[in-house]
Symmetry: C2
Subunit: 316 residues, 2 copies
């Protein structure tokens, strides 16, 4: 038997990480996932610094197990967030949307484990060079902001695994035990799951959004706004406006005007299903229910083991 690199790195039971999704990943969710044996992540990108501090403090009280915080490196008050995380003794940080060289050495010097989220082998290598302890390789099918090369999880994981020596966590299209097993068959050391946890009871997504996600079907998400930053979202009235503008060759400024401000909050947190920006992955078409995060973890790990047993029995 070989010790898994991710469970060892984070000192957790399962190599199953809950993504720090914008507007959906509060301390309630992170602590529930960590208590269930995975690694929970508080998503700081939608929090003011003082709100983040409260979430970290509550999370520490709610679980004895390791948990992490996700930071978007382009966040305007990033230095304030980092100061708070160091003060509060956060042990693991997942960083995304920016250059890993800017903060990784500083965080490492404070004894923090750093994982960087990338959508290409090229940037995974940059993260490794910057001192990251692991990378998340996130494919085209993932919800939210995404890479320009559109490499899918099936193609990305082997490329990243081949490029770096540090552990690789697969993300994008993963929300079941079977897909977790598939990612590990590709060479991933663990998985990061976002969309499935949006539909957990502890997620701070508005109930309208949770219900829309579990009602969504194949083909209901799309990677759009490629002239700005590509983002995968559920098709709704907001998307139709973007689509019409793009079909008329809208400029970057025109698209920015349509996007406006606080679209993501309006949709995912406030529950406006037509005018909000509803970030979610393609895998959401597979989900049919809202349940506690602990049950989601249990269900995934049970299916993982069943599917693994099945795989060993296939005979040629």
């Amino acid at each position: 038997m070989s010790q898994n690199k991710i469970t060892k790195l984070f000192n957790i039971q399962y190599p199953l990480i809950q993504a720090g999704m914008l507007w959906c990943a509060p301390w309630e969710l992170a602590s529930a996932v960590s208590n269930a044996g995975g690694l929970g992540i508080i998503g700081s990108a939608s929090m003011h610094p003082d709100v983040l501090r409260t979430h970290i403090q509550k999370c520490k009280k709610a679980t004895q197990n390791p948990f992490a915080v996700n930071i978007a490196l382009l966040y305007p008050e990033i230095e304030k967030l980092i100061e708070i995380m160091i003060e509060e003794g956060v042990g693991i940080i997942f960083s995304s949307a920016g250059n890993p060289k800017t903060f990784t050495p500083f965080l490492k010097s404070h004894g923090i484990k750093v994982v960087h989220v990338t959508s290409s082998a090229k940037f995974a290598l940059k993260a490794e060079d910057a001192g990251a302890d692991a990378v998340v390789a996130e494919g085209f099918e993932a919800g939210g902001h995404n890479g320009r090369e559109e490499t899918t999880t099936m193609c990305l994981v082997p490329l990243v695994k081949n490029a770096v020596k540090i552990p690789v966590i697969a993300a994008g299209g993963i929300g079941s035990g079977r897909s977790m097993l598939a990612a590990m068959a590709l060479g991933a050391d663990g998985v990061q799951i976002g969309s499935r946890f949006v539909t957990s009871e502890e997620s701070s997504a508005h109930s309208n959004f949770k219900n829309k996600v579990i009602d969504s079907k194949e083909g209901d998400t799309i990677l759009t706004l490629k002239k700005l930053t590509p983002v995968r979202l559920l098709k709704n009235n907001f998307f139709e406006m973007v689509k019409a503008a793009e079909e008329n060759c809208a400029t970057v400024d025109e698209l920015k005007a349509i996007l406006g401000n606080k679209r993501a909050k309006r949709g995912m947190f406030e529950g406006n299903m037509e005018e909000g920006e509803l970030e979610i992955g393609q895998v959401s078409a597979q989900f049919k229910d809202i349940k506690p995060a602990s049950e989601i973890v249990k269900e995934i790990m049970n299916e993982f083991e069943e599917a693994r047993m099945e795989l060993t029995k296939i005979k040629f």
Copy 2:
């Protein structure tokens, strides 16, 4: 041990099918794959009817094992092709790009096994209703013509598996033992591999194309021409022309004029790397060599077994 549904359906050794790629899948390749224990497919979409007849006759002489022919249902002389396949006793037909209801019952009445290629669970169900023996679920990362919903293999396979009772063959992003194992972890009963066999010695791709494929890197392919029929190809001068036109909001007719005729032949078969249409999958970034098809099959199956053994050893 459980008998695999695909090896049983086709009476072959491995559930590994070589796709009938346009301009790249002659009798030499199909027979080599079938002789190696997979299922080889002659790609008829780039053949005149009399050329197809020759390929079938030569393939029958070159292998005692089952092989198949791929037909594009929108092919202008489709009825002539079908007549030839029945006359020559072809036992397995893979159909794509059209309505499975048109020919499936007729082919079945001649004792032919029929597999339909789809990019959605909805159409997989239609194929099953039409009487297909199996479906190929082909993801967004696949080379050549592709679905509009852009569902990746990781997300598509579980949806299709859940929708139909007939066996499911995964395609798109698969070119190694690990990705074959991943597809089967997702629930696929077998895999169809295209791009890797383009780089086989027996493929009829021009050597310029084979070399360009093995030199290609992450991000070098793109799904384009979405206003016509979406197609994944290698970026080159032809693609740059399409891109410039699309950025200027070109009409369907303008795009058709740029595409013109015989672009695919010019590129893949005649070796014009800048003006031709070079259809290939995202997975091509992983390939580094040209080798005999039998070695490709052996390499994939060896890696499959090694990776399967590794998966059983992961301990939590």
